[in-house]
């Protein structure tokens, strides 16, 4: 019953190059995470900037975000399935929701922690409030936003896998199908794919960007 590593690797091969089911599943999951992550970063940034710059928004929306943040996004799936009549939109909804809150909170923190002296200096150069937000506060909070994006990715990826186990299509569904056929080698093969994607994102995407940003912002050790 416990799968052999060799057979799992063989499953990877057949899944990608013979039957193609893994290629299809991977493409679908990657499309979902790409769209979901992008939306989460955009929505999270906008919310974070709004909450970070307006006291009123912080006291109303900000509190709501903190409350929503503690709800694991997968919990929204039953409601989303009804709201979107099942299917892909519901999964996307859960993914976006998972990524948005950490992005929002980190963006907010970045904006709040901009050194006041930078804002004062820019004011003496005649920049008005809107320009200050665009030209000083947002660039100054890029390192924070990056941390937010990293977390947003991690949360969104986990949400996607969980949603696909229950929903339709993608790596998660294929994993469940494999289990139904008692194909444990396939289950392990898919788990390998999931972890490889996580590693690639962490070490080849976020680490690299972070290194560059931190040294540019003078924060690298």
């Amino acid at each position: 019953m416990f799968p052999s590593p060799l057979l799992s690797v063989k499953q990877l091969y057949t899944g990608f190059f013979e039957t193609g089911i893994l290629t299809v599943a991977l493409t679908e999951s990657m499309q979902r995470i790409a769209i979901g992550f992008t939306l989460a970063v955009i929505i999270g940034s906008i919310l974070g900037i709004l909450i970070g710059t307006s006291k009123l928004a912080d006291e109303t929306l900000g509190t709501l975000v903190i409350a929503l943040q503690s709800v694991p996004s997968i919990v929204w799936l039953p409601l989303a399935l009804v709201m979107f009549h099942g299917g892909a939109a519901a999964i996307l909804f859960v993914v976006v929701l998972g990524g948005t809150w950490p992005m929002t909170m980190n963006m907010r923190m970045g904006i709040k922690n901009v050194q006041p002296i930078l804002i004062r200096a820019a004011r003496t150069m005649g920049y008005n409030r809107t320009e200050l937000i665009w030209k000083v506060m947002i660039p100054a909070s890029i390192p924070s936003a990056l941390t937010g994006a990293r977390l947003a990715w991690a949360f969104a990826w986990r949400a996607l896998m969980a949603a696909e186990l229950i929903g339709r299509g993608g790596l998660g569904r294929t994993l469940m199908d494999a289990r139904d056929f008692f194909n444990m080698e396939m289950v392990i093969a898919i788990m390998i794919i999931i972890s490889v994607i996580g590693l690639v994102m962490e070490y080849f995407v976020f680490s690299k960007i972070e290194k560059r940003v931190l040294s540019r912002w003078g924060l690298a050790k």
């Binding site: 930078l118 003496t124 005649g126 912002w217 003078g218």
Partner: protein
Amino acid sequence: MEQVLIKKVEKTFENKEKKQSFTVFDDINLTVNPGEFLSLLGPSGCGKSTLLNIIAGLDQATNGEVYVGEKLIKTPGSDRGVVFQEAALMPWMSVIENVMFALRKKMKKEEAKEHAKKYLKLVHLSKFMNSYPHELSGGMKQRVSIARALAMDPKILLMDEPFGALDEQTRSMLHREVQYIWEETKKTIVFVTHNIREAIMLSDRIVLMGTRPGGIRKIYDVTIPRPRVITSPEFVKLEEDIMSILGGEIEKVMREEMGDDFNSKKASLLYGTNNNMGDNI
């Protein structure tokens, strides 16, 4: 060159929670002449930086008015360049981009770049144009900050303890550089400091401010010919004159912080109350 007119300026800080208010100073009247190098000198808490911030438009006066030329000051503006104690450079911008940042409201990119280069040359930083602030020393950052303020071609230059955080060698080097810049550009400069020697070294006039009640104690004309030498008799004489008044002001501040039985004569053995009032220049 533009004159600064300070008329009956009062600044009171309200503490809303405790319903207390604290008046830093009231009824400050002062005229800074065009092209003059004027220092505001005083112990900590006398409101010299607050007054500078009011001129800059970063703080609002509770009462009274400040005019630069004919213009009543309400908000900050590029007609007044400010150099802070910290260089306040944008860390994500290179040196030249930082200087250009001050110009982008007025000029196109190419023009701003040429202009920025000119001012970086003035502070001898042409070589570091493409460096980032974290790669520079404290003195170099402060020079970028001065170039940035000057590049806007402000009518007056406001400097808030610009060399307070620097070491001695860098500071005396920057003193020479500021004098050179002042002679080159003929700007009106208002310079805040708590260092007597720094004030005498640089200024045409020194406005000595005191605390509790805050306000102007005395105004000194500095007529010593430039370049000034710290050890010349006129320099030492003026320093002693200023110290005799300032000493009392410092003692007031110390009493406030350490209790009424504080006595600077006794405590000088331990603390050396004068030690940031010019000894280290």
